[in-house]
């Protein structure tokens, strides 16, 4: 099997190259911005931090959190999109079809309008709860009936629950226009102004979910050959699907909770990952994580630079980069799963 070895080597090489790209994007995220900071200065802000220097403050309390959050959230969104597409065998699936985004937004709006919640950390927990609740309802609705969890039922339940939460949200905002401004800002998604305080409480969940996802590659390889085949091979498909669902909720839910609704990553990255990694989920999953992190961190850098000193919302930036790419894949014919 010499040919197979060449494939393996190529996958490893590409993976290392992509990881280097991510490191470069991470470094650019710290250096570039409204006030450019030299690489040496950035390094010094870690080795010999001087709290009187603006540049050091910017690096430690603004740029670093952004880059870290961008990396974690980007990887999380991409991996949850990959799981979603594998679970539903639907190439157009993304975490949002679980109703995750609309559930989170609804909870945020309720919190802002009725309970005057304004701290980002509290809003983060609210969004997380909303995302989890919506996903749970969709999951239960999608599992009802004799044939259990089917892709079609998930999509239908997701569309219904999304629409439900969305109309509640709009209903509230119609009566409270003042809240609209804050919500709109949050809706577009942003990594700016996010502090590590928002990430650290959910980080253990994210890390656990991410590691579990990466270990599930072999099981997912079998699952995508079909439910009956997987059952026949002795796989507990209910358990596998429930685990995948839980991982999606943690990863996508925490992402929407920390940075708001950032689109396209969960939809587009799985396709790019498959383009590089082929059909083996033991490769597709780590590729998704790296590529997702790279796209979000890269989009954040671009968002800062295109209309300086203003910033483009990150959700818009990922759509600008992701949109054309998605049209390209759609035209070439989406790979069926």
């Amino acid at each position: 099997m010499k040919v197979a070895n060449v494939f393996q080597q190529k996958k490893v090489t590409t993976f290392i190259l992509l990881s280097l790209l991510l490191v470069m994007a991470f470094a650019s995220s710290i250096i570039f911005g409204q006030t450019p900071i030299s690489a040496e200065e950035a390094v010094r802000s870690f080795t010999s931090f001087d709290q009187n220097l603006t540049s050091h403050i910017v690096v430690r309390y603004d740029r670093l959190p952004r880059a870290v959050i961008g990396t974690v959230v980007g990887a999380g969104l991409a991996v949850s999109g990959t799981l979603m597409q594998a679970m539903t065998r639907n190439p157009m699936a993304s975490p949002s079809i679980f109703g995750i985004n609309n559930g989170a937004i609804f909870f945020i709006v309720v919190g802002m309008v009725f309970f005057s919640v304004s701290s980002l950390v509290s809003l983060m927990w609210l969004a997380f709860a909303g995302a989890a609740l919506a996903a749970l309802i969709v999951y239960i609705l999608g599992s009802l009936g004799r044939d259990g969890l089917t892709p079609v039922k998930i999509v239908l339940a997701g569309a219904a629950i999304s629409a439900l939460f969305q109309s509640y949200t709009q209903g509230i905002l119609v009566f409270d226009e003042a809240g609209l401004q804050d919500v709109l800002f949050w809706l577009a998604g942003s990594v700016s102004g996010r502090t590590l305080d928002m990430l650290i409480p959910v980080l253990p969940f994210i890390v656990t979910a991410m590691i579990t996802a990466l270990l599930m590659g072999r099981a997912i390889n079998l699952l995508v050959t079909g439910d009956d085949i997987a059952k026949g091979m002795g796989q507990n498909i209910l358990l596998i699907k429930a685990a995948m669902g839980a991982i999606v909720v943690v990863l996508a839910g925490s992402s929407v909770a920390i940075v708001g609704a950032v689109g396209f990553i969960g939809l587009v990255i799985p396709h790019i990952a498959r383009f590089f990694a082929g059909t083996d989920y033991r490769w597709i999953l780590p590729y998704s994580a790296i590529l997702g992190a790279f796209l979000l961190v890269g989009a954040d850098v671009a968002a800062r630079l295109v209309i300086r000193p203003q910033e483009v919302p990150i959700g818009v930036m990922t759509a600008i980069i992701g949109g054309p790419f998605f049209i390209y894949i759609a035209r070439r014919g989406l790979k069926s799963l």
């Binding site: 072999r218 085949i229 059952k231 026949g232 002795g234 507990n236 059909t279 069926s336 799963l337």
Partner: protein
């Protein structure tokens, strides 16, 4: 010798009864074919025996043991099931697909082994798919695709192979190709083969044991020569027919009555030469 047995099995979809307390025994090391009209429950019976569906009542015995009391992964080492019309993810290679057959033998601690590698190449050889190992499953012809799926079930290393309509959507030559492969697997390695077929003549030609189903239960079971009668075809398929012998294999051959064009004598004489 018994290999697989369904005892007083009842199954229904929602409120609709599909299998009504039926009992059937599959002989070991033989080819068994389920026949019957549409909706008689033959696929459901096969799927129930393969534990893809849970029985409401009764039990499925594999080598004398109730399968509901056993670990599903252990059952997979003894019995494989190929469902109807399986579809592989786009771009998946034959080799990757066949490797999935080793799933029951692997665990978190015991990843890919030399034994796994051996079983995969053996399965590829047995199905004549070695040269297509790196081809994408979805780009193969229908017959080759079915061979790839059968190779996957062979890699599982089980003695009993269940197939739900393995020849559906295949043209005649590919149907024969797939059935010949299953015949060889039974002949050379004494694997027990159980399948659902629609073509009665092919069923008679390949099966040692026929199970005819009607109205949610077993109508008759036995060697094709014994049970293939006009009355059986009338009762099971609701169709009048003539039964003769296959001119090549001598197995029973069903020629249905009905309408059709009568050939003229000169062309019949020409064919006879």
């Amino acid at each position: 010798m018994k290999s697989l047995e369904a005892k007083d099995v009842r199954f229904s979809y929602d409120d609709k009864l599909i299998l009504n307390d039926l009992t059937v025994t599959i002989p070991k090391g033989k080819i068994t074919v389920f026949i019957g009209g549409n909706g008689c429950g033959k696929s459901t019976l096969l799927r129930t025996m393969a534990r893809l569906l849970k029985t409401e009542k009764g039990m499925i015995l594999l080598d004398g043991e109730d399968i509901s009391t056993r670990k599903t992964k252990d059952i997979a080492k003894q019995m494989s099931i190929l469902p109807q019309g399986p579809s592989a993810p786009e771009g998946l290679s034959v080799e990757q697909l066949v490797k999935q057959g080793r799933y029951p033998h692997q665990s978190f601690l015991k990843q890919w082994s030399l034994e796994d590698e051996k079983m995969v190449s053996k399965a590829l050889r047995a199905t004549g798919m070695t040269e297509h190992a790196l081809s994408a499953v979805d780009e193969l012809s229908g017959g080759q695709r079915q061979r790839a799926w059968i190779a996957m079930t062979l890699a599982q290393g089980s003695d009993t192979l269940l197939l739900d309509e393995p020849t559906t959507y295949l043209d005649m030559s590919h149907q024969i190709d797939v059935l010949d492969l299953l015949y060889e697997l039974n002949e050379k390695e004494q694997r027990t083969v159980v399948m659902v077929l629609h073509d009665m003549n092919l069923a008679c030609r390949y099966a040692h044991h026929l199970v005819a189903m009607r109205n949610k239960t077993i109508y008759d079971a036995g060697a094709p020569d014994d049970i293939m009668t006009k009355k059986m075809v009338r009762d099971v398929f609701n169709m009048e027919c003539m039964i003769t012998n296959d001119p090549i294999f001598g197995s029973p051959m069903v020629i249905p009555h009905g309408k059709g064009r009568m050939a003229d004598e000169s062309s019949i004489r020409a064919k006879a030469k």
